[in-house]
Symmetry: D2
Subunit: 415 residues, 4 copies
């Protein structure tokens, strides 16, 4: 038996990304990005590499930068050889160096932007307002990014239309609920000796990511405690079988604390005092949620058990294990590249389709939901890639519901 | 030991409805409905009785009608004694008699309407356009009702503002997902000898009701198959661990078929041919989903096993058990009165609060989401009734997220 | 369309009992019980009726008695017409009258006994030792019965062999874990307005019944607390995601308390003081677990809300709802007849097969596990009735495992 | 802040092993192994290292060997410095070299043996019968080992008593069900890009390990298919909501195939033809379950994607990914050391306590269950380490159940 053929660093991901491959094929013919410059900023993993390549296949000049600690050297290498793509990030770059590459992206006066965390989007509006006025549109794919864009939109600060790709049902119920939770649990259990069954796990935030991981932890046998600031989500968490408590109470009995809020300093100095001995702490939402400096200040010692795992000892003897310095654990842990391809394919297909739509759109500036028909189109592609058939609304049904005047009032009682 | 004190027919429900009781107390003082006539149409259960009484306590003249097969005689009796309430439905009324009571409600020229299925709302617009112009606003609490109102809104047919109470997170994630599923499963297992563990259960529709019951069936050990017409919901169902198939395929192996779509004839003549022998069929969404006349036409015999349970025999020997003639099983089954008080309290509190807001609002005509602050207010009341504390957004957090320009780009990597 | 044909009271059950029907067919030919008298004592539901009839079909003279509160009048009527069966219980009989019927069964000098709760078995040994010496064997199908038989066996008190049908994997993992839990939850939610999602549910006992209901409650969204006296089961419950506490602590926050222990007074006077206001209390194990006299003594009033639902008021205002006077709720609630046919078929098939084996056996007196091959035979019948195929151990596999000397030590690492 | 203190390779494990630490303390005083030689064979992970050290603390002369591919060099190093312990395995040893170390262990004429897979136990009976006659007793902790010991016991081949530590409820419901499943899922998801939610996962074997992982896969959103040879386990799997099929059918649609049987060649040549394209295959039971030579024979190429991950390409283009060459994935994957400490602590505490009992026992040769009181003792220690209180059987309860003659027949109806 001969050895298998060599593989590019995106080969595995490509095999599991039927949608991106399908758009590559379509756009190679239709070239929706012909003559356009596209700036991409996202963790530079194989998935992002494939996405950039698909945009270039569609005719775009694509400039790609990344985020600290998640750039794959081999992907950069491979992108360098792809026509139409210029990788600007490199593995091991400092935050300042990466910030410089973002400026480089913007100085190229991009027509379209694909963002993950609103890093390019806040920068272009804050520092390059002239260039912002030339942008046709952008897509943003994260909860944290959308949190910022909502603040910007409320202040009427956006100069061009932005699609909220994070807000599509596809992203929420698929990528955020399942993908992030699975890859984060895999990373956490690989880094630590944690046993989930029988543990007490605290999840901060009951948005889609938090809900996803809280449900999976509970399904695996943890007693789960959710912390929230929104009373409606708190009620939802209670009805789903979680306990709900304020953070300061919740962490006192926890074996595991996971933040999934997209918010600033959700675990902070005031909570360090009540953290249970032996607790493991990680973020799956964003890198701003855990105030690691508070931990460092209070601790009497700090041991790196292995890359990604630090144990702080507090003056009263309590030990707290912090994973990946509070950066999101499914990207920042050694050897990890975020969510499984199965969901990244859908999310990046959504981004691709959204950018193609914005290339040629007259939407007003501001944050916009992804139009229903784009969302459905991508979902149909996915089902077809998975060989799954579904029903169609019949003419009789459409008719019945349109003629609201005559609906049969002898058939009452609804939920 | 002495016998306990006698009880009104809403006493039990009242004990478990802290929010409605709290609004009764507030509104007895503030009288938001003073001088207003309010038309209410909903299954006339103890929950609805209590709701009508709370509206009257707030100063309203309340006319209450019901739906076929779900009117509780003792509640009607009790309401007759309550000041400010006029019950128009009676137990055992035919559909035509009930239709007449709806006209009576509208002829009283109501200022506000509380609806469940958009029965009053479609009638007033279709047949009493003059009176419609005098209505200040309405609240609708069901998925089926909202489906109709969306059609009306698209056709610009609404003459006054309507709050989509069904669309609040409180209704969706609490009442629809949990309440309907629990009470429906209880009704189905009480009527039949079904064992859920190890069965194959088909759920038509993966909206909030369908999702709720499909997840609970799966959690109890069924192998679940979901049918959908929306590709995004189909993907969500797949990721949640259900199989997804077209209805005609799905019913061929089913032990249980449950419709939860709010749509017309989801189980229809074409599916009768493939229904598995021994299958039990029920609706938890609305009474229009199962075409029982198709079953009756094809069957060679029809046996009523007990009230609410009919067994049809098909020419080739297959037996199909239809529950409550296709009406929603958690209301139409003998002795049932819908969802548990724990969720009805929240939903009717939402309706009450919404009507109080509309009593004094200048919203334009059309279908409107319930304003965020009302929703949060009711949720906070509920948490406080349950003695649950949650966290608050801190000033530092608010500040961090508002100042989007300066967000720390050295802390990247988000979901 | 004509009306369906009339039905006997066991017709529905028969349709869902392929195994009993298959044994009826086999035993009609082989007549394993020819010339033998068989005493049966079990809740006289349609399942038990069918079972008795199958034994008679196999040639037995069958005397059937029942238990208080669960005798179906129509089943008794039907049995009266069956050749070879003599029903002795009647609906509405007092406990004393039923005790008399048990004596009548024993006075007939039965060759075989089929018991449910060891009522006949304790009586025959205690009061009819002569007759006991003539019994060839017996089968017992409940946890509570086996608890007593273990005590008897330890005291060498058994005069004939008894098969522990309750102990077969078929009964434990199928009937006890799923059947009892499902039918009990259905009964509890039908009797009360309980919402399981978001509730706090206490389950006393983590044997097969307790484990089954605790897992289902948790799967439906309850926060579950298990009480135990066996430290190993307590650890198992913890690892399964339940909280574990002593009863006195557990009941203080409970919405629902369910006993599933088979033990005497598991909820007793000392716990009445700490029971949470509004709690619902039920037994799914046996009628001896809840000390209802303690409740009655402490309460200032007792209201029957409806049949099967009593509300006690305690001096400090706390209200406690007791279901079916502490009798097992899936049998004692109005209109209930225990577990679904799907599992009763398997359990009664096991009883039937066990009695046929004992008719012609030379086992010594004492409590015996059901022989492996009988258990497997019934399981194979069940799979075949369900049209499920499974794999076979291959000759190569059998060979590999038999030749332990030479097993490949280069393939190590096992769980 | 200073750097934390240096750590021995078992330090982390020790922190999470309160039971072993407690036995170390007790046995340091009581010295139950004084003057005895103990042979240990198990994957030489930190847990095993700690276990060996505890035995030496109790006075034993401990000889430790390991299994191929799982020996931790730093643990060997550390053991070398511990008084009373002689490590014989070394990282990187071939299977033949390890086989030699097993002979060295036996040539030392051990008094007690602690085994994992029955490697020492089969060798000593097969090749060193003289030495076997001098052994006082042994403990075996794996399902695979017990499978062999059952074959040996049936053939009356055992010369000394062996405790079936694998059979204790503690091992089954805790270690096998939860520990193996969690660590295996973590290993599988770390090695591959698999997304469990929405996948089709086949689990071969519904013993404790298979049941554990099948339930967790299902809880995480997989559609699960179980294969079995025991009809009772097949029924249990069906009732738990899994599909049941023969292996040849099951693998045709699978995304993931996991063997958990302890049996020889469960996935073999005949199944290679039907394996779905893209499937990932792993064993969590033992290394003999997957016939990797069949795969190698049929494949046209074999690519090592990364250590532990091989992709085979079959002539018709199907690709099959085999993890860790079919060795158990939670031990053989790079950087893995088996189950979490939380369960290993309990299992090794059970082994320790069992050996102490056997040091001074007069049990006859053969395979024995661990005596109930030992099992309870270890469980009580664990609960106390976890600060969990449980109830006690009261005198009144004990009394009630002992006096079987007089049990209250007016309280009938049991499950």
């Amino acid at each position: 038996m001969r050895e298998g053929t060599d593989q590019t660093p995106v080969a595995g991901v490509k095999n599991r990304s039927p949608l991106l491959c399908s758009y590559a094929e379509q756009y190679q013919r239709s070239k929706p990005f012909d003559g356009l410059t596209i700036g991409v900023c996202a963790p530079l993993t194989p998935h992002t590499g494939l996405f950039a390549d698909v945009l270039a296949t569609g005719g775009g000049e694509v400039l790609v930068t990344g985020e600290a600690g998640s750039t794959h050297a081999d992907v950069v290498e491979w992108l360098r050889e792809r026509p139409g793509v210029t990788p600007l990030a490199a593995a091991g770059m400092t935050a300042d160096e990466l910030a410089d590459t973002r400026e480089t992206v913007l100085e190229a006066e991009p027509d379209l932007l694909a963002d993950d965390g609103a890093f390019l989007l806040s920068l272009v509006h804050d520092r390059f307002p002239e260039i912002a006025r030339g942008v046709r549109g952008a897509c943003e794919q994260t909860t944290g990014g959308i949190t910022r864009l909502l603040a910007m939109d409320e202040q009427d600060a956006l100069s061009f239309p932005v699609y909220d790709v994070n807000g599509t049902p596809m992203k929420q119920h698929f990528d955020n609920v399942h993908g992030t939770a699975e890859s984060s649990l895999s990373a956490i259990t690989s880094l630590t000796d944690t046993m989930i069954a029988g543990s007490v796990a605290v999840v901060a935030g009951y948005g889609h990511c938090g809900r996803g991981i809280a449900r999976k932890l509970r399904a695996l046998g943890a007693r789960t405690v959710v912390t929230e600031v929104d009373p409606r989500k708190a009620l939802e968490a209670l009805a789903d079988g979680h306990d709900v408590e304020p953070m300061a109470d919740a962490v006192a009995d926890a074996d595991l604390v996971i933040t999934a809020t997209g918010r600033y300093q959700v675990l902070r100095r005031e909570h360090v005092d009540t953290l249970a001995d032996g607790v493991v702490v990680a973020s799956i939402g964003s890198a701003i949620e855990i105030d690691d400096s508070a931990l460092a200040d209070e601790a009497t010692s700090n041991t790196t058990e292995k890359p990604g795992v630090e144990r702080y000892e507090l003056p009263d003897g309590r030990r707290v294990t912090l994973l990946t310095e509070g950066k999101v654990v499914n990207l920042a842990a050694p050897g990890r590249s975020g969510n499984p391809s199965h969901v990244m394919d859908t999310t990046f297909a959504m981004m691709t389709r959204g950018l193609a739509d914005l290339a040629d759109s007259d939407l007003p500036p501001g944050l916009h939901p992804v139009p229903d028909h784009l969302d459905r189109e991508v979902a149909h592609e996915k089902l077809s890639a998975m060989d799954v058939d579904i029903d169609q609304v019949t003419a009789a049904q459409r008719d019945y519901h349109d003629r609201w005047e005559t609906h049969d009032s002898t058939k009452p009682d609804e939920q």
